[in-house]
Symmetry: C2
Subunit: 463 residues, 2 copies
């Protein structure tokens, strides 16, 4: 590292404790949108964190649902960067699988453990610290900054489209830095040019009777079996979805996008580290797996429940059964149409005995072209910050309401962040490495200082 | 009612409060063999209840497992009746579905509500009261009585066969009155000449990795789907078991047994009351349904669980999934062979990814011939006690280790009891009607006083 990059990195390390405190402050309260736990106070605490680093904050509730925390640093600069994050987190259970309580951030082996450490309070903290860093190191932030921090990402962002309708002017910007991303197992930064869409639903099978002694199972219908038969009709053993028409609208990716899939070295080791020996659905080569993961839709069982699941042997014929499914969508697929296809399939196969309950509205996928200048800026600055060449994926495997930026605002949008293959997002012992957190701060600072020169003239004077 | 029957019925009603107190005493403590709740004290409290009505009691533990409570009233009579009951109960959950706490017996609308009210403490109480009644009304019990009250029926009686090996002499008797039975919706007493065998097992699918963000579901194996595919390969939508060889050893019933299936009127109304509108697996006529329920084996899902089952939408790829199954066996089927068939099927279909864990050893089915004199005695006395002609089924749909009596002791065994179609055994709000409880006391008393004359000379002088 040299020049401004080296100077910023030196200052980050000087302020390491303060930046960890900004992080742990955000991790010390629950904000579980799925259950509502802690959501009453969360927006206010996030707004305080914004004010602390010098942003003007505002809490919006006009869209309905949990508040959006808005932050601004606007001084008539020649460019505007929109930064998207969310302050809600996934439910922490199963609690007994956490080594330390999920809302008491704990440092072990150079990592910070807490629910939200990576997804998404850690990413938010790094970006806030980047502003503090620039104000501290160079006395100004040479770019208009807009923070959009929503509280419903983990439940499918059901009200965010209304926020975009209500505040189109406020949201206008030259580019958007999205919430997720991280490093491969070898430490190379991962950059995503899109996100999948999502549809989340429950399937309910229930009978108009009480639970019965299981001996009746010889002639009385069992909703657990009804559900099991239905679920096995939805997806085959290889993971292929069997619902008629499911793949009809999947857009064929262009050659620039396909070309991104050539870089599989980081992906292969990540997959091995994550899925475990023999943990994959198929023996496909890495490039095809990467294609499936980033460019293909899928259906997953997130949970299933019926009857007695405690200790020992209770012989009961349950009166109901349910499953929770998420469906990941790719460009071309519309959630309302996919929901119709699912409903028709469930009706046909179950004979009306299983009902479909969508939990949120769902949203479509988003994609930014690899040729967008902002992609190159995020990539070049990542290489400086992490000292390794980044890996660019056409899309995250995960979802986010990024289509509001790419398709409604028509603004290029790129995701980069601070996670890694050990981050356990949506699972017990979620964590980030402190090293990645600090490098993430540097990365965002470098994006900001180089933004105007690069977007206007293609140069990065501050690397 | 006339003669001795009328006199006994009058005395029962006189002592109604005392007999209800004997019942609620047994219902006031938990004894959940599946979880162990309350099992430390249960045997002692049951032994006290036996002593209260004049039985000599003994608590056996030499067979291993939870104690057997033994009771005797033996005065060198010319006949011996063995009475089988169990003091353990099913787990009470889901607790929130009970209108009153499961171990606080509560009377509402002429019914007693509590876990075990019917299965099986209510039946035990009625039989104890029958002894009290005879001692009170005629000053003696004209029959040797042996009570065998085990504590592991609800978990498959894993140690009872050892008790039978250890105490063959003690158990010798002329006939055995088994634990279950009740009344049809129209009030006709139901008598069972057998019980199914059982095999209870868990299926576990698990991956060597943590729970993951569900976006990985596009390429990483989901144990919930593995389990769902396996379960749907075990049983088709009509309930027919698809495991190779499953039906091979099922014995064809004889014509006397088949003849019992002609009486379907009580059965039809019971099924309608229990299964609800459109709640049956098939549209077969009643006689065929009764055949399936009493004379055919079946496999049932008692419980299934994986991933997130709480409120809202958590997007997780679970690392494990499990199901609990019970398999009901009929004469000819051996539990160890059926377990092998299941294991082979699971291994073949899941490719070794799902494992089979039998929770208990299991036991085979039992059947007593409709031509046995004891069947007629139980039937005639039931008609007197309940004022309605009984319905005799070749077997209960449920299971019990009755084979130890019929196949090891070679003693005829008949089940009759105090339940009804609203009893909700193994389910929330288990209950019995007080009327049926009192008539059940009368029934057992009539069996006892008529036993020697009928078994020796075919007469029932005390009806």
């Amino acid at each position: 590292m040299s020049g401004i990059t080296g100077e910023l990195w030196r200052r980050i390390n000087e302020k390491r404790e303060e930046y960890l405190e900004i992080l742990t402050g955000l991790l010390s309260f629950p904000s579980v949108s799925a259950t509502g736990e802690g959501m009453g106070e969360a927006a206010g605490r996030v707004a305080e964190a914004l004010e602390r680093v010098g942003l003007r904050s505002e809490v919006f509730t006009d869209h309905g649902g949990y508040p959006v925390v808005w932050g601004e640093l606007r001084e008539e600069r020649h460019g505007t960067l929109l930064i998207y994050n969310h302050y809600d987190v996934q439910p922490p259970d199963p609690l007994e699988k956490w080594a330390s309580p999920p809302f008491q951030p704990t440092i072990r082996n150079g990592r910070v453990y807490a629910r939200g450490a990576c997804d998404n309070k850690g990413n938010l903290a790094a970006r806030l610290c980047a502003l503090d860093l620039l104000l501290d190191a160079i006395g100004e932030v040479p770019l208009n900054i807009k923070f959009l921090i929503e509280g419903e990402e983990e439940i499918g962002s059901p009200h965010l489209s209304r926020f975009f309708q209500n505040h189109k002017e406020l949201l206008s910007s030259d580019a958007c830095l999205w919430e997720m991303g991280g490093a491969s197992p070898s430490g190379r930064p991962l950059i995503y040019l899109g996100a999948k869409g999502i549809l989340y639903l429950e399937l309910h099978a229930s009978e108009k009777r009480a639970d019965l002694h299981s001996s009746w199972g010889a002639i009385v219908r069992n909703p657990a079996f009804e559900l099991v038969h239905l679920l096995s009709s939805i997806r085959d053993r290889s993971g292929r979805v069997l619902i008629e028409g499911f793949y009809d609208d999947v857009q064929t990716p262009d050659s620039e996008t396909i070309a991104l899939l050539e870089e599989t070295s980081g992906f292969e080791s990540e997959v091995r580290a994550i899925a475990g020996e023999d943990g994959l659905l198929s023996n496909k080569p890495a490039k095809e797996l990467l294609y499936d993961l980033t460019l293909m839709p899928c259906i997953n069982i997130c949970g299933i429940y019926s009857g007695y699941t405690g200790q020992g042997s209770k012989t009961v014929l349950p009166s109901s059964a349910f499953a929770k499914l998420d469906i990941r969508l790719v460009p071309g697929m519309r959630p309302e149409k996919v929901l119709e296809l699912v409903k028709n399939h469930v009706e046909r196969v179950s004979g009306g005995r299983v009902s479909v309950v969508p939990l949120d509205m769902g949203y479509p996928a988003a994609r930014t072209s690899p040729g967008e200048p902002f992609v190159e800026l995020v990539s070049k600055t990542a290489e400086s910050a992490f000292n390794l060449k980044p890996i660019i994926y056409p899309s995250a495997a995960g979802s986010g309401p990024m289509y509001l930026v790419t398709d409604i605002l028509r603004t290029p949008c790129v995701a980069a962040g601070i996670g890694d293959h050990q981050s356990n997002i949506h699972a017990p012992d979620e964590s980030i490495s402190i090293e990645n957190y600090l490098r993430g701060i540097l990365h965002v600072a470098l994006i900001i200082v180089n933004f105007v020169p690069f977007m206007r003239g293609g140069v990065t004077p501050y690397l």
